[in-house]
Amino acid sequence: MDDRPAKGRNGSGATTAAVLWALAAAFAVLAAAFGLGPAGQPRPRDPIPLVDPSFLSTATNRRSYADLVRAKEDLSDFDCYACHEKGRPPVLRFDERENLIVPREHADIVMGHGEHGRNNNCFNCHNENNLELLQTRDGRALRFQDSPQLCGSCHGPTYEDWEAGAHGRISGCWDRPLGPITRQQCVNCHDPHAPSFRGRKPAPGPHPLRRPLDPPGRPNAS
């Protein structure tokens, strides 16, 4: 073993001893600090609330009359002839700007089908001779559960897409032989009186792992 310092710097025996004892002390302190010091758990993360389960629901926007019939629910609200007379078509009234005046008995209906008040004649779709049915544009009676044809008679391209599955909602199996599918109808998403697809509150946005480095001059959220 070579104890001799390379450059012949002697008289360092005492310094060497001091340095070595200092090192031993330093290591001992380190050993204690690591062993007995704080546990070193990472800083606890900001809590992120679990998403509201309503955002996970696959329910459609609306339940159509046909759904209610299928589910055998109480249809007393839909009994047209409880108020109307059979054989007497209801009279429509319009104001001076040719907007339909919705009777107060049907105040829950908000008209909005088409811009500039187009398509505001109830009997464009409803069958005045039999209020429990709809009618096509050429006057044929149509059941409520066949309503997509009626929508499609004006909205042709969308109807074609819907038939092929490219428009609207289908749930179940893409592999048709393997299982059933549920294809939603137009009225499951669109209110026929005001069909424009409703907006809604969005689900919460992402929570990035790291906080911004400095208070942002321009916040990330819109």
Partner: protein
């Protein structure tokens, strides 16, 4: 290096020394203290709760597992999940179906940016809630531009859709020419016959090269131990799909492999209120995706100039 002048002059030679008792004591003190410091510096390892068992450590690569070995691995995963979450899952190894190539089409006219798909995916695929992992990121884009620099993902208005914007959800595009597969140093990610790019979570070494390579920011890494609330665990699992991942491995959208290889639609599609998402087998001419690709005029394959050839098509209605 030149040949040395040799033999070296004797005067220069280093004699072998001998140790005195004091220097021995000194040396031992330093060495002992040093070793003690070394040992106690490793104390945080006691907090480690994810030490792999010998079985898991030596587990073979997915493609090399025999059916017997796979059955044992699946059982082991079920045991581990049952122990951790108190719910016994059903883990399957689903194989690709013949004659199937999956394609996803997303209607940008219809997406309203509600983010339900993001959360349905999180729920279906057992993603960590904190730190938050979400495979799908919905981008709000201004009308008229596909400039990704203008995208905003932190929008939070009272109602969506907002006027003047359209919404574009982005997830793994299951590219035909995937850059992530090319760069993975251990083949932990590869593309299967039905087009899904999968990850063997037990093979990934966590180098995150794939995350750097992905042009769509589709891949996620488990920086911490994933936390899934027990009551929201989805027990219907697949080996290459939604079984809970571990600390230090990558994950990403796999087209809900546990559903789609059983013939069902992925969770993001099922929950979309606007029916903006379309999925199916493009090789089947009667599928809705084949119809869309045939009939819609304008498609966007994001960043198509990069040559990734994604299987994700954004389209507009007529």
């Amino acid at each position: 290096m030149s040949a040395p002048d040799f033999p070296p002059s004797p005067g220069d030679l280093i004699p072998a020394g001998d140790l005195s008792r004091r220097s021995f004591l000194r040396t031992s003190a330093v060495l002992t203290a040093g070793l003690a410091a070394l040992a106690s510096s490793l104390r945080p390892l006691l907090d480690m709760d994810d030490l792999p068992s010998a079985q898991r450590f030596m587990q073979k690569y997915y493609k090399e597992l025999t059916p017997d070995e796979m059955a044992r691995v699946l059982k082991r995963i079920e045991d581990e999940v049952a122990k951790e979450y108190g719910v016994r899952p059903h883990v399957r190894d689903l194989r690709p179906m013949d004659g199937v190539e999956f394609v996803y089409a997303l209607n940008l006219t219809r997406c309203i940016g509600c983010r339900k798909c993001v959360h349905a995916c999180v729920q279906e695929n057992n993603q960590s809630r904190n730190p938050e992992i979400q495979y799908i990121r919905v981008l709000r884009m201004p009308h008229g531009s596909l400039d990704i620099e203008k995208a905003q993902d932190h929008y939070d208005p009272a109602m969506v859709p907002e006027k003047g914007y359209f919404y574009m959800p982005v997830q793994c595009q299951q590219c035909r020419n995937p850059p992530c597969v090319k760069v993975c140093p251990v083949h932990a990610t590869w593309q299967e016959a039905d087009g899904i790019t999968v990850i063997d979570y037990d093979w990934c070494i966590g180098c995150r090269y794939c995350e750097a390579a992905c042009p769509y920011w589709a891949r996620r890494f488990n920086f911490a131990k994933p936390s899934i609330p027990r009551e929201r665990l989805n027990p219907d699992m697949a080996y290459l799909g939604n079984r809970p991942r571990r600390l230090g491995v990558m994950e990403k959208c796999h087209f809900c492999i546990q559903r789609t290889r059983a013939g069902r639609y992925p969770a993001c599609l099922e929950v979309c209120p606007a029916g903006a998402r379309k999925f199916g087998n493009v090789l089947d001419p009667n599928s809705e995706v084949a119809y869309i690709l045939r009939n819609k005029r304008v498609f966007i394959q994001l960043k198509e100039e990069l040559g990734t050839s994604p299987r994700f098509f954004y389209y507009f209605d007529v």
